[in-house]
């Protein structure tokens, strides 16, 4: 179908003004040898047909299971006011606010976003947003490399492995090595190993730890930060924003840089994107932060105004000397987070974090009661690992019972025998007691029949999607 406004008469009029018979002449610069003759694509569809096609595809995804899957992306209640605001065309269909006189809506909301994230993280300088938590983490580490003029980065292995993989991709062309810090027996980052790594070899630019870490555990952030600073390195905290309603903010334990995934702040999971990369730093590092920043100023009549600022750091001005090539940000996702935080306020956000923690404790007890105890003993907030024999097969079997039993940690750590029999599970305020019972009962049943079904791991998973084929 066409969305274009032109009638055949309109086109004829424009051609007449140009003194042409057809548009062909306008493409004369395309050499004959490389001219395409149309596209081998399906025929146009009516709006109804495309809508049906989308509905059918969406229907083949399964989002109806009781889900305990988090691992960096979390389901939350999104107040309806959020989508109502974000859907407004004045926000959704504006461009980057290069003309501040007619972009104050976008500019003020970005300033508000920066302010809200500054309050959550305890760090004063907040980027207008990055692509996602993984790229924000990589950019955060690269900031530290520039600021310290050092080339070594130490990262806890208990940062989500997709984040570490992204860091490797970003670091490799610069010749930077990513050195992984091992876990101690309790699942937190081994600080003795950190101390040794800082004391030997080349000077370290940055130390990266996750809070909570990839196993849901709370890390000794202040101790790690002190060790890093003692060796002249910067400390980078990789955080989950809802948790900051109840956990110490990175600025309080000495983080110089903070990165994280902002999706939990009112953004739907969307199979991974678009999401919201959070990146914040201390004032001392202002000039190292990549991406757009919005600042306050006045117009010529003295009225308060907001404008993109410190622009000379960016690629469109600095070109090959820019710290990053980032241009597009995630402004609409940042607006989503801003509306979400405005709608919840401090009490609402704390309730979300605390209710998730309470549900997680119920989940822990229910799973322990059916033979799936926690893998680690240390404190956690709303996500934790449980020990389940033949975890991957059990996970698959539970899908048949309508339970998405978190993430088999073998998927992230295929070479670690200690994690081969572990599931990473989470709860949020959406997790109901009924879902927890369904998980526990299902797990009990699967474990009971497990011995009779040794080939469960290989069994195909019958789902609506599979059956439809």
């Amino acid at each position: 179908m066409g969305y274009g406004p032109h009638t055949p008469q309109d086109r004829a009029h424009m051609l007449r003004v140009l003194g042409l018979d057809s548009v062909e002449a306008l493409f004369a610069d395309i050499p004959e040898a490389v001219r395409a003759r149309g596209l081998d694509l399906p025929a146009p569809e009516s709006e109804l047909e495309t809508a049906d096609r989308l509905r059918a595809l969406a229907g083949r995804n399964r989002v109806d299971l009781a889900s305990f899957l988090g691992a960096g992306v979390y389901r939350h209640h999104i107040p309806p006011v959020v989508d109502q605001i974000v859907s407004r065309g004045e926000f959704a269909t504006a461009y980057t606010p290069y003309q501040p006189e007619i972009s104050q809506g976008t500019l003020q909301t970005i300033y508000e976003f920066q302010s809200l994230i500054a309050q959550l993280t305890g760090l004063d300088v907040v980027s207008a947003s990055h692509y996602d938590g993984a790229t924000a983490t990589a950019e955060g580490a690269l900031m530290a490399v520039r600021a310290t003029r050092r080339g070594r980065v130490l990262a806890s292995r208990a940062i989500p492995p997709p984040y570490l993989a992204t860091c490797r991709t970003y670091f490799e062309p610069a010749g930077l090595a990513l050195e992984l810090l091992p876990s101690a027996a309790d699942g937190t980052t081994d600080l003795e190993a950190l101390g040794r790594a800082l004391a030997t070899g080349d000077p370290v630019a940055a130390v990266l730890l996750g809070q909570p870490n990839a196993f849901g555990l709370l890390e000794p952030m202040a101790e790690a930060a002190a060790l890093a600073h003692g060796a002249g390195a910067l400390f980078v905290a990789v955080v989950e924003p809802v948790s900051l309603a109840v956990l110490a903010p990175p600025g309080a334990y000495g983080a110089d840089i903070c990165a994280g995934e902002g999706q939990p702040l009112g953004i739907a999971p969307q199979y991974g994107g678009p999401s919201l990369g959070l990146l914040a730093c201390t004032t001392a590092l202002t000039r190292q932060i990549p991406g757009r920043l919005v600042g306050r100023t006045t117009d010529t009549e003295g009225r308060r105004a907001f404008v993109m600022t410190l622009r000379a750091r960016e690629q469109d001005i600095r070109r090959e000397r820019a710290a990053s090539n980032i241009c597009t940000n995630q402004a609409l996702c940042a607006l989503t987070a801003t509306v979400y935080l405005a709608a919840l306020g401090p009490h609402g956000l704390r309730d979300v974090a605390a209710l998730g923690a309470a549900r997680a404790r119920e989940l822990e007890q229910a799973l322990a009661a059916v033979g799936a105890p926690r893998l680690h003993r240390g404190p956690y907030l709303a996500e934790f690992a449980v020990r389940v024999p033949r975890a991957t097969a059990v996970h698959a079997a539970l899908l048949e019972r309508g339970v998405l039993a978190g993430l088999p940690l073998a998927r992230w750590y295929p070479d670690d025998p200690d994690l081969a029999e572990a599931l990473l599970v989470c709860a949020t305020e959406l997790t109901s007691g009924q879902e927890i019972r369904r998980f526990a009962d299902g797990l009990a049943a699967v474990l009971a029949t497990d011995a009779e079904r040794p080939s469960a791991a290989d069994a195909a998973v019958p789902t609506a999607a599979g059956a439809a084929r």
Partner: protein
Amino acid sequence: MDVPDGLRYTDDHEWLRLEGEEGTIGITAYAADQLGDVVFVELPAVGTQLEAGKTLGVVESVKAVSDLYAPLAGEVVAVNEALADHPELVNSAPYGEGWMLRLRLAEAVAADGLKDAAAYRELIAAA
């Protein structure tokens, strides 16, 4: 455009004021005007050894950025700390309070390779 006599000038629109074995460096009024409102000046630390022709820092305006080059080799003995809080001095007094740094020159004679005021006036007239 103001081009004071008695200073030396580079093709990159910097000026050098020779004072014995030392030289003070800044950017010209022409350069400041071309850049527009200067908002940030990044300078090397005192003690840094500079090679002639190499980048020593950066001047940023609202919508442009320009490298600073060392006109001569030498050691940085002072930088203009006032520019950190008042970068606008580069626009208001490019040859005075807007100076950038002072070098102890490694080889004073090489200054002969720099332009005098008359030659620099010709350069910007042709631009």
